[in-house]
């Protein structure tokens, strides 16, 4: 990097900019208001979230509490893989799950080559886009999100927000408390590509199966059923 390039580019950019003072810029930006978001497919937040996860070609399950959640994880693994082999990030939320209730104990750490399934704990869920949000960090190896064939994500229903704008508010508060994570990942589906003749194929580099388990007492009993009806076949 030459200092000259920076000086020159900054000078040119400033020359083509308005040169307004910072607080004037901030006020103008604030005055632009908010972007319209997609309408939720259901009035109830949990149902809307689940419906959009389904539309994203994820599979879903609901669990009223952590005990049901670990059983749901075990059931999923058995259905898909006839196996109990699971890696989970060293997230305290995952470590604290009542694993003995499911008879399953994940290996905590980073995905090893050939391991078929990994479990992550989402920071939040976004109903608008049917996405789960993870931060990089000791509790969440990138490999666990990006490399296994099967990716299971646990989301607490009280961390589901309606829109991206609310997601950023939430993330902003997190960042103010614990600093900026290296990476913030919004995951809204299994890995896919349509690069060959426009044909959609799952499991491009990442998971071909993405399973989201929504945990919470207050999730309506019929949320799953209604979400499936909304998402369609």
């Amino acid at each position: 990097m030459t200092p000259d390039a920076r000086t020159e580019i900054l000078a040119r950019v400033r020359g083509a900019s308005r040169g307004a003072p910072a607080d004037s810029v901030r006020r103008e930006l604030a005055g632009l208001g908010s972007a319209p978001a997609a309408d939720p497919p259901a009035a109830d937040l949990a149902t809307a979230f689940l419906a959009n996860v389904l539309r994203n070609r994820g599979t879903v399950d609901c669990a009223r509490n952590r005990s049901e959640a670990v059983k749901a994880v075990g059931d999923y693994l058995y259905r898909q893989l006839r196996s109990q082999r699971l890696v989970a990030g060293n997230d305290p939320n995952l470590a604290a799950m009542p694993w003995r209730d499911s008879g399953l104990l994940p290996r905590f750490g980073e995905l090893e080559p050939g391991a078929p399934a990994a479990l992550s704990y989402a920071r939040l869920g976004v109903a608008e886009t049917g996405a789960v949000v993870t931060f990089t960090g000791k509790g969440n190896p990138a490999a666990n999100n990006l490399l296994p064939a099967y990716h299971i994500v646990l989301v607490a229903s009280d961390t589901v927000v309606p829109t991206m704008e609310e997601a950023w508010q939430w993330i902003g508060e997190e960042m103010a408390a614990t600093g900026r994570p290296r990476g913030i990942n919004f995951i809204a589906g299994p890995s896919s590509t349509a690069d060959i003749e426009g044909q959609l194929v799952y499991g491009a580099h990442g998971p071909h199966s993405w399973h989201v388990i929504l945990m919470g007492e207050e999730v309506p009993a019929d949320a799953l059923e209604r979400a499936r009806a909304i998402a369609g076949p």
């Binding site: 990097m1 390039a5 580019i9 900054l10 040119r12 950019v13 400033r14 020359g15 083509a16 900019s17 930006l29 632009l32 208001g33 908010s34 972007a35 319209p36 978001a37 997609a38 309408d39 959009n52 539309r55 980073e110 886009t129 990089t136 960090g137 000791k138 969440n140 990138a142 490999a143 999100n145 990006l146 490399l147 991206m164 704008e165 997601a167 950023w168 900026r180 994570p181 290296r182 990476g183 913030i184 990942n185 995951i187 809204a188 589906g189 299994p190 890995s191 896919s192 590509t193 349509a194 690069d195 060959i196 003749e197 426009g198 044909q199 194929v201 499991g203 491009a204 580099h205 990442g206």
Partner: protein, 477 residues
């Protein structure tokens, strides 16, 4: 990338001969607009969103001096090294230096049109580095030694059969059938997995840079960009100075338009924000993170008539809706960016002399502007480039003189009516039996593809005047 836009017409001719590829383009051209329309109809607030994002984008460009400084401050605070590059040569050199400092030999690369612009891959490969494109479409064309034909789906011009032949030839994996598209993707997944794990440097682009917190945003469906950003020990983000948005929410608002416009999805599978290198609390990630901010004439465009073109978010919708792109395909345009947006950008980023045919590859049908999520008046910009072309005398002189003569005549109605009153009835008499001409002097372009309908009679003005005179004569004094 090497440019060959002067050969647009020859390349278009070749493209029109390959009937299988013509057919594929027809299919894409009929399908992609439907996917986009369905997604926008389902969203329901396209105009409102487009207007909002446009205002934010204009504000960001108007105040880029402020936001660029803010972004740099935040990115540095996050632990990045921030580099500025005035042109392609500087960007390439900066990237090579970083790789050489680390003794890197293997690069894993996410899709980046900016690096196509600068010819980064070739440059690094000539210096002895192995660069592997990890986006499936980019990987395919890299293996085939071709250039992208579309800014979102670079390999969409290739059939599955061609890709199968390519993989069988290039991957030393023994006997296998690779029958389905899923098989092809599966093979690419296996091959590329090792490249992600082995690469010492990851190079990615950025869909946006966030001024308020110094993050860069990357969207993919495959997740390959994230693998490049997380696994290698060095990360280099290559992008341009005009990609900066004020806040994270502005970037995700823009994404609501980008993905629906590009693929008809409501969002991409992976939407990621990276702040910089590994910290104390991190388990993984690059030890060193670099952001290279390229100008390459963006500041020049900012200061000129075509500033609005910088608002392009690279969705490719204009390509998908352009009948000329559909007819001749992306390679005909001879550079990185094809279709309507490419026909504006190529003259601005290279030169009008070398690419003045591109703004002429347009009927001003307006379909591009209708769907452009950035609200860029592409037909108007293309016409303005034709104005520049005329002023620079780049178009053939017979066209320029012909237009001037026609306009001059039209400004002299009596002469115009007299001349047409002589010529048109003559042409009518010559053509009235058959009804049209197979050939007509000075009309080769037209008659090479269709007959030239003969005038119906004398001119209207001739007949109308005559009738008016008769009526005047009949009216009592």
């Amino acid at each position: 990338m090497k440019q060959n836009s002067e050969a647009f017409l020859d390349q278009a001719h070749d493209a029109l001969q390959d009937s299988a590829k013509v057919r594929r383009r027809e299919l894409m051209a009929s399908f992609t607009p439907l996917a986009r329309d369905a997604a926008m109809d389902s969203f329901g607030k396209f105009e409102a969103l487009r207007n909002h994002v446009k205002r934010v984008r204009q504000h960001a460009l108007d105040n880029l001096g402020h936001y660029l400084v803010q972004f740099e401050q935040e990115a540095l605070a996050n632990g990045n090294r921030v580099h500025f590059a005035r042109d392609s040569a500087e960007m390439n050199s900066i990237v090579l230096n970083i790789c050489q400092q680390h003794g890197a030999r293997r690069i894993a690369k996410g899709k980046s049109m900016v690096t196509e612009e600068t010819g980064l891959n070739d440059y690094l490969q000539k210096a002895g580095l192995a660069v592997t494109e990890t986006d499936l479409g980019e990987y395919i064309i890299q293996q085939a030694g071709e250039t992208p034909s579309h800014i979102v789906g670079p390999a969409l011009h290739k059939s599955a059969a061609e890709i199968r032949e390519l993989f069988l030839a290039r991957h030393d994996l023994g006997e296998r059938s690779l029958e389905t598209t899923a098989d092809l993707v599966g093979e690419a997944r296996t091959i590329l997995r090792q490249h992600f794990l082995d690469a010492e440097v990851g190079i990615i682009g950025a869909n946006a840079l966030i001024a308020e917190n110094g993050y860069s945003m990357l969207v993919t469906n495959e997740g390959n960009g994230d693998l490049c950003a997380n696994l290698p020990t060095v990360l280099i983000v290559c992008t341009t100075v005009d990609r900066i948005l004020p806040r994270a929410e502005d970037a995700t608002a823009m994404l609501r338009l980008l993905v629906r416009s590009a693929t008809g999805q409501p969002q991409t599978c992976y939407t990621s924000f990276y702040s910089g290198p590994r910290r104390e609390s991190d388990l993984d990630g690059p030890l060193e993170a670099h952001i290279v901010l390229l100008d390459n004439r963006r500041t020049e465009i900012m200061a000129g008539d075509y500033r609005e073109m910088l608002e392009c978010i690279r969705c490719g919708a204009c390509l998908n809706h352009c009948p000329i792109y559909a007819s001749v395909g992306g390679h005909s345009y001879g550079w990185v960016y094809p279709g309507p947006m490419g026909s504006v950008l190529t003259p601005l980023l290279t030169s009008l002399e070398k690419s003045h045919l591109l703004p002429n590859a347009c009927t001003a049908c307006g379909r591009c502007a209708e769907v452009c999520p950035a609200g860029i008046p592409l037909p108007d910009l293309l016409r303005d480039l034709r104005r520049d072309e005329t002023a620079a005398k780049l178009s053939p002189s017979r066209w320029r003189l012909g237009m001037r003569l026609h306009a001059w005549l039209a400004r002299h109605p009596r002469l115009y009516h007299r001349l047409t009153g002589l010529g048109i009835p003559l042409l009518h008499r010559l053509g009235r039996t058959r009804g049209s001409f197979r050939r007509l002097p000075m009309a080769d372009g037209w008659t090479s593809q269709r007959d030239f309908p003969a005038p119906q009679s004398g001119t209207f003005m001739q007949q109308y005047r005559k009738a008016a005179r008769r009526r005047g004569a009949r009216r009592p004094q």
